[in-house]
């Protein structure tokens, strides 16, 4: 089956519907599926629930889907960099489910591994535990969290081969790996599609079994916080 598509709109064709749950990779603006996000904006799909660690910034990343009011609910761990997000949430226009970062990652990983629930000590004794089953193992309390099964995963990787084997780059791997596994369908955008056989099989980060559609494109890769040090004078 052919996995390589010409562009983001074609790769998403037939997959989008109002009210769907989308899992998105990325951390801040690092490793975000920016081309697929833009295509979802152009498609106008509404009432989305988006599981993503962050919500981008006002005019980039998932922030663009907030500006167009396509998102009904976010499932995130940190939203501090996005003023429009904060405004919509505080005014009640946007639902927000806070998940601790590790719990969000594990919910995606678990769903991808066919695990509908797991116990974690993260959040015990906090509002995160409200309404959740508490179970004691060896004298310590744990809360029950559920696998996050998404209708669609949108992911950014560095390279893919034509069968969907993926290689990520540096800290841009982040949530892309667990997000890719938890979608019924996973669409991936990469900087380069290489011929099958040219990636080292011992160095595939995510096997192509998880990947259904791939596109190659130009990425802006915006930097959120440019921090540098001075060179010592010779």
């Amino acid at each position: 089956m052919k996995k390589v598509y010409a562009n983001a709109a074609e790769a998403l064709d037939g997959l989008l519907f109002d009210g769907m749950l989308i899992a998105a990779g990325g951390f801040g603006l690092c490793g975000i599926p920016e081309l697929l996000i833009a295509a979802i904006r152009d498609a106008g799909t509404k009432d989305l629930t988006v599981a993503s660690n962050n919500a981008g910034v006002d005019d980039f990343g998932l922030g663009v889907l907030l500006q167009t009011r396509q998102v009904k609910k976010m499932i995130s761990s940190y939203v501090g960099e996005n003023a429009e997000f904060m405004r919509q949430y505080l005014s009640g226009e946007l639902e927000l489910e806070f998940n601790p970062q590790g719990t969000l990652a594990e919910r995606m990983r678990a769903a991808g591994a066919g695990i509908p629930g797991f116990y974690t000590k993260t959040g015990v004794g906090t509002v995160i535990a409200d309404g959740k089953e508490v179970k004691n193992f060896n004298g310590q309390d744990y809360i029950l969290e559920t696998g996050l099964f998404a209708d669609l995963a949108i992911v950014k990787a560095w390279k893919a081969d034509e069968t969907g084997n993926l290689v990520f780059r540096k800290t841009a791997r982040n949530f892309n790996h667990p997000a890719a596994t938890c979608g019924k369908v996973c669409v991936v955008e990469v900087e380069e599609i290489v011929p099958t056989g040219s990636l080292d099989p011992d160095n595939i980060h995510l096997p192509g079994i998880y990947v259904h559609r791939i596109i190659q494109g130009q990425h802006e890769k915006r930097i959120e916080q440019r921090t540098v040090r001075q060179r010592e004078e010779a």
Binding site: F27, G102, A105, E106, K170, T171, H177, E224, Q225, V228
Partner: protein
């Protein structure tokens, strides 16, 4: 007199032990890496998926694919390893990280920590802080002892939503160092120019011993 941000970071750096894997939070904790004592080799974890975090890059060498958990551009080191977010929090939850040094809004005398939201005002989120305090071996909080109104942030009970319950081991503030022990907090040391009476007066929590 009291410690400034850099002096607090320098004091927190004394907590580091050779060979440890450590996670530093955003804010003053990030400064701790500037004061790692001579002969102490620690590996810094960045929970977005990296062990062996290096310093900021030189201008022109920033890489958008290489950031820390505060979204700042950083560099890698010879021992650096990258991994995904689920693996990152597996090592955090799994107790592989020896210590986390985190910022705080409030700490209570039984070691409760609040540092992720002010209801109705400030909604940032917990990020990885709840996972860190639940999973790492030792939790050190670095923060100002009082808020801008002069009210103690070291309390009998936290008023803000908790990040974790009974999770803090040591508090380092601009006024001194306190340990969470049975029955309350124990003064470990006072900051330069701060008397024990001043430290006690600025602390709402029970001080024992």
């Amino acid at each position: 007199m009291a410690w400034d941000r850099n002096q607090m970071a320098a004091r927190a750096a004394q907590e580091l032990q050779d060979g440890w894997y450590v996670n530093l939070g955003i804010g003053i904790p990030t400064l701790v890496s500037n004061y790692i004592p001579e002969g102490v080799h620690v590996t810094l974890q960045s929970e977005n998926g990296m062990l062996g975090m290096g310093p900021f890059p030189f201008a022109g060498e920033e890489d958008p694919d290489l950031i820390n958990a505060g979204k700042q551009t950083i560099t890698e080191l010879p021992q650096t390893a990258y991994f995904d977010s689920a693996t990152s929090f597996a090592m955090i939850r799994g107790g592989k990280i020896a210590m986390a040094i985190l910022g705080g809004m409030e700490v209570s005398e039984n070691g409760d920590l609040a540092n992720w939201m002010v209801p109705g005002k400030l909604v940032k989120g917990m990020g990885g802080a709840m996972d860190l305090v639940a999973g790492v071996g030792r939790v050190v909080v670095v923060m100002d002892h009082t808020n801008k109104h002069g009210d103690s942030k070291v309390l009998k009970e936290c008023t803000l939503p908790l990040t974790g319950k009974s999770v803090v081991d040591r508090i380092i503030t601009n006024l001194g160092v306190l340990d969470v022990v049975e029955g309350g907090l124990k003064i470990v040391e006072c900051a330069d120019g701060v008397t024990e009476d001043e430290l006690r007066a600025a602390t709402e929590a029970t001080i024992v011993g």
